[in-house]
Amino acid sequence: MTVTKSPRYYPAEDIKPAKNTYRVKQNPPRIRKSITPGTVLILLAGRFRGKRVVCLKALESGLILVSGPYKINGVPLRRVNQAYVIATSTNVDVSKVDVSSFTDAYFARSKDSSTEGENEFFMGDAPKPAVVNDQRKADQKKVDDALLKSVASAPMMEAYLAAQFTLTTHDKPHTMQF
């Protein structure tokens, strides 16, 4: 005789026990050790490939905030993926540069509703020139003013940032020190 009573009711179909649900916690991406605020980076992809730029900080998304500075090599305040940069051992002092206002949200694209729709797509008139808003321009100037000062204090640094990175014959990037 069984000690425990068997239940009176059995469901006609097996009810599958609910699976344990758990959220995967998304850790912020790890930025490699060689990239710190102030490190000179070589961009490897995108329209600014080959440019040497200054790293300002790592953003929450794991992208890196960089600036050319714009005046020296034409690279604006920009987010780049750390996989597409070479970190050099050269550093620029960025302690005077205030980058607290820059977040991923700052760089998010604003949706322009007027350009949507099939009609607009086919019948649209001449493409509008890209307009950089004044807020961005002002922010760029504010950051670059501080940055240019510390760049100017290091000898040859300005020319270095202005120059393109290239490989020539017999250059073996895997054996080179950066």
């Binding site: 000179v40 070589i42 051992s89 050269t90 040859m156 270095y160 054996t175 080179m176 020190q177």
Partner: protein, 134 residues
């Protein structure tokens, strides 16, 4: 063609293969037609006493005066009296090796500076050449 560098007891050699590549050592005995016994001395060059093949060493112009199977102590003394390390460092061979090493360890910024310096140098030379009417 006259040979000036010989395999002999007391010859300083440069190791060109293996973990001790680039280090100097002294031949302290000859094993046979393929191998010799060397000792750094370990105290000065970091190469411990070992048998090594001739294909892994390059003979240098330098020698020290020692007996066969010289002990480390006498070897160190012989190096000191012959001033071997200084003589080696002064040789163009050693300088070339050193500059190769320095070139390899340059950072990207350093390479940029070298490039600029090279340009300035050739600018001066070219200006001088024109001045000389060449």
């Amino acid at each position: 063609m006259v040979f000036k560098r010989h395999v002999e007891v007391g010859r300083i050699v440069l190791i060109n293969y293996g973990p001790e590549k680039g280090s100097l050592a002294t031949i302290i005995d000859i094993v046979d037609q393929n191998k010799c016994l060397i000792d750094g001395p370990a105290e000065l060059t970091g190469v411990s006493r070992q048998v090594i093949s001739y294909s892994r060493i390059a003979l240098t112009d330098l020698t020290v005066k020692i007996q066969v199977n010289a002990r480390q102590k006498t070897l160190v003394a012989a190096w000191k009296t012959a001033d071997t390390q200084a003589k080696w460092d002064a040789s163009s061979w050693a300088k070339k090796l050193q500059s190769k090493k320095t070139r390899l360890s340059l950072s990207d910024f350093d390479r940029f500076k070298v490039m600029i310096a090279k340009k300035q140098k050739s600018e001066i030379i070219n200006a001088k050449m024109i001045e000389l009417g060449a």
